[in-house]
């Protein structure tokens, strides 16, 4: 959808047009849900956040600044709601594992790999999507956010920097480290799967 078409939809929805609002929801709910699901690791949190974010956005459409992208506004509100939700109920990601990873950025990468492998120990067979979800657990919160916005949502570095209010260099740094961790975690996951396969065979 072009920005002008989206702007017309927003204007109609703001004027009380239910069909226009529904099109806006259908246009963005998939990407927002995917983002929140992988950011939180919990489907229930993602569902709550997505619905709350849309309700807030649609009831305050008159405050939307057309100079910005609608999705940026929506994701910003969703992120705030997610932070609030995290304070209420802990997300699935284990902060101890994330902490172990966070302390191994410079020298202990292989220890981090073991921590990720330990995190997935006990899982028998993981499909590719589950492997990604598991691997995302090994990232810090900000790395996960940057990696998802860049690779899943296709946002630019500049847009992410503006969204997260941090310099572009910092965004790149989080992106590079997050990607490397993701790669190692997926490898660890696959090694674990191979080991399980050997045992079963």
């Amino acid at each position: 959808m072009t920005r002008s078409a989206e702007q017309r939809l927003i204007e109609k929805a703001a004027a009380g047009d239910r069909a226009a609002a529904e099109r806006l929801v259908r246009e963005h709910q998939g990407s927002l849900y995917a983002y929140m699901l992988r950011l939180s690791g919990r489907a229930d949190v993602a569902e709550d956040v997505v619905q709350d974010a849309f309700v807030r956005v649609l009831t305050h459409l008159d405050r939307f600044d057309p100079r910005y992208r609608f999705s940026t506004w929506l994701f910003t509100i969703a992120k705030r709601l997610y932070v609030n939700a995290c304070q209420k109920h802990k997300p699935r990601y284990d902060s101890e594992i994330v902490g172990a990873w966070a302390g191994t950025d410079e020298g202990g990468e292989r220890d981090g790999g073991r921590a990720a492998a330990a995190a997935i120990n006990g899982e028998v067979r993981l499909n590719a999507g589950e492997a990604i979800d598991k691997a995302l657990e090994s990232l810090t919160e900000v790395q996960r956010e940057v990696v998802l916005l860049f690779h899943q949502q296709g946002w630019s570095i500049a847009l992410i920097a503006a969204h997260l209010e941090m310099p572009e260099g910092t965004v790149k740094s989080h992106l590079h480290r997050g990607r490397q961790r993701l790669r190692r975690a997926i490898n660890a996951c696959e090694r674990s799967r191979s080991a399980v396969d050997e045992v079963w065979s």
Binding site: R26, Q51, V55, I132, H151, I157, K172, R179, Q180, I186
Partner: protein
């Protein structure tokens, strides 16, 4: 590649180069020459090739679509409870109404332009030039409105006239006047053109007479600024009162000038 930190020498340099190329590739900032270099590197170096394929798989995994539930009904229901939606009929009415208003405006403009073309004098899009006399009349009307304010500013009320003292001018007739604290009128006293500015604390300011009717205010004061110690009428200088109160002032001036032959100046 980052994991290969134990490498040294040429291998280490190559690893750093591969890392930066891989980062540029996955950051979507790599140039054409960089792509060529990366392709050669990936083909030649098994470690670089493995790193590339693993990163590529991870990134592709992130892009894998997630099956999302449809939240639209729940969301729109909740929004409807909070702010309400316009019904389809109302929306149609709004749309039709907007179209009708736009059509009427366009039609009106078209008719106006057509009439203007065929009969230029019958349609005037801009107001005609206003004669200066009319502007003066407007100013007089505005000033009328300000008379009451000026009366208050100069301390007049309905019983003010009884407070006046009768003061004899030097060698002249008697007029209704009152010695004032001129400092309270400082802002209003402006010297007529050609005279030095009148200050409330000037030597030459002797007294001021204030008088007012229903539609005028007059201020007089005796000053020696011009060396003649004659009363000056500053009515014209007090805002635009002179315009509004012209008839009344004129009547009063004519009447009083008979009583004040030597003082004059009105």
């Amino acid at each position: 590649m980052t994991g290969d930190t134990g490498r040294e020498g040429a291998d280490g340099v190559r690893a750093v180069g591969a890392d930066s190329l891989l980062d540029a590739y996955f950051d979507r900032t790599i140039c054409a020459a960089g792509k060529t270099r990366l392709a050669r590197l990936v083909a030649a170096d098994p470690d670089a090739g493995a790193a590339f394929s693993e990163l590529d798989r991870a990134v592709e995994g992130l892009r894998t679509p997630v099956r999302a539930p449809d939240f639209s009904a729940a969301i729109l229901g909740e929004v409807g409870r909070r702010r309400g939606w316009l019904g389809a009929g109302v929306q149609r009415l709004v749309s039709v109404g907007r179209l009708a208003v736009a059509a009427v405006l366009l039609l009106g403009l078209g008719v106006g332009l057509a009439v203007k073309r065929w009969s230029p004098d019958s349609v005037v899009f801009s107001p005609p030039a206003t004669p200066i006399a009319a502007v003066t009349e407007c100013a007089a009307t505005d000033a009328d409105c300000n008379v009451a304010g000026l009366r208050r500013a100069f301390g007049f009320d309905d019983h003010g006239a009884s407070d006046r003292e009768r003061v004899r001018f030097s060698g002249a007739g008697v007029m209704s006047a009152r010695v004032l604290d001129v400092s309270s009128m400082r802002a209003a006293l402006v010297a007529p053109p050609g005279l030095a500015p009148i200050r409330a604390d000037s030597e030459g300011v002797r007294f001021v007479e204030r008088s007012a009717g229903a539609d005028f205010v007059m201020v007089r004061f005796v000053t020696s600024c011009d060396g003649s110690a004659r009363p000056l009428n500053v009515t014209e200088r007090v805002g635009a009162v002179a315009v509004a109160s012209k008839p009344a002032t004129a009547r009063r001036t004519a009447a009083e000038s008979d009583k004040e032959p030597a003082v004059g100046g009105w």
